[in-house]
Symmetry: C2
Subunit: 271 residues, 2 copies
Amino acid sequence: MDKRPIGVFDSGLGGLTAVRQLMDQLPGEDIIYFGDTGRVPYGSRSNETILKYTRQDINFLMSFDIKAIVIACNTADTAAGSIVQREYDLPICGAVRPTAKKAAMVTKNNRIGIIGTSATIRAKAYDGIIREYNPGVEVKSVACPLFVPLVENYRTQPGDPVTEMVVAEYLQPLKDWGCDTLVLGCTHYPLLSEIISGFMGPDVALVNSGREAACQLAETLRRANMLSGNSEPGKVRYYISDSAEGFSNMASAFLQKPVEQLVSKIDIERY
Amino acid sequence: MDKRPIGVFDSGLGGLTAVRQLMDQLPGEDIIYFGDTGRVPYGSRSNETILKYTRQDINFLMSFDIKAIVIACNTADTAAGSIVQREYDLPICGAVRPTAKKAAMVTKNNRIGIIGTSATIRAKAYDGIIREYNPGVEVKSVACPLFVPLVENYRTQPGDPVTEMVVAEYLQPLKDWGCDTLVLGCTHYPLLSEIISGFMGPDVALVNSGREAACQLAETLRRANMLSGNSEPGKVRYYISDSAEGFSNMASAFLQKPVEQLVSKIDIERY
């Protein structure tokens, strides 16, 4: 048993969809969340810069006595995940590998669609890993650059005419192609699940990278006998690197429940 | 006569719409452009952070021997313009005041609509200044947070169904209200002029903050006898603070002409 908290970070608040999954799967765990809102988005930065930011994010989380880390950011995981996993002496779970594995296992017709930010799609983050687990799979990727701004403007309700139109435009090629599995390769996208599912139809399985990262961490902690063993709900503490204005509303949207805790602003450049 | 270049900065590349206006109005001037693409957007930062960034942007431009500065960013101008105008010993022209003045002069029915990012609208940057010039004016402001992502995704062509729908949604209240003047209070918005004008109708005058900032600078230099006097077209040099990937395409869109010059990446935190 290990009562120390779990650290989770993302370039912004999208990673809270992974926190939401951790709360469901491991309700007795304490969590420290860091959202690098002062430097979001990572997607347009160079790999060198993303690696520097990722190290700082981890250093900040390690200023608490944490037992493991979740990189709840597809961009940071792709650019820096395997490097920091070698550098730091605690379990670090990324979002990409468990998500790719899940998709490779779930597909029946061996056609997997992948959606993500332009940076994630350009990096072909998922393609190779999916084929490691299932070499017969065909993969088709589509960048959906307007999804993050739509989510950040709360345009996530089914029936929103703009979001419905954008979803249809981006996903029509994947629907026509006939994938039976769709990877939501960005932690913002679970908020669009209902609209995406409505468009793709009930036979297409959506794979949520926040959920898969949480599953992976749960398994890692269970095997290492590092779960907290608490029966009461764990505490979550939130840290961000820029103005807290609007944090509660956005965080409540990602967590799908009200956020009552305070959020603290920190200077990430110091770490 | 003063042959030194003019410095122009913005939080990103939107300020290139002001460079385009400078090229038209003052074709013989050399220009140094800095786009703080590594720290964009400024709109979500605290005023203290924006002031720090603005000083660094100016310090970088002053590492060249420049004669004047244009703040081609409504957010930076609102949060820090009047402070840096007192701190630095060269002419610094913001975008907000000349744009507000122009709108106050142009309106005939005394109803002015203002559109901008959430930060600009929340700060009520234009309202007070417009009334300084024309106390009888009524002002109605609408935040248009999806316009910047639409522009940055090149969704600016008339007929684009998503952009047409978003423009109609945001601007319908201003159209119903009957303003005869609309302030484009963000340097990205001139790229949407055609769609905005098509929706609002030919009787609504659009006031472009990049153009007004350029006019103001031209007048300042003329009065102080600081124009270059060159008859050949001036040179423009571009600097940004993050990856140059995609720079040429986006810059060409904002400038409405091909960008052939190279762009250099600099470390703005050093200034």
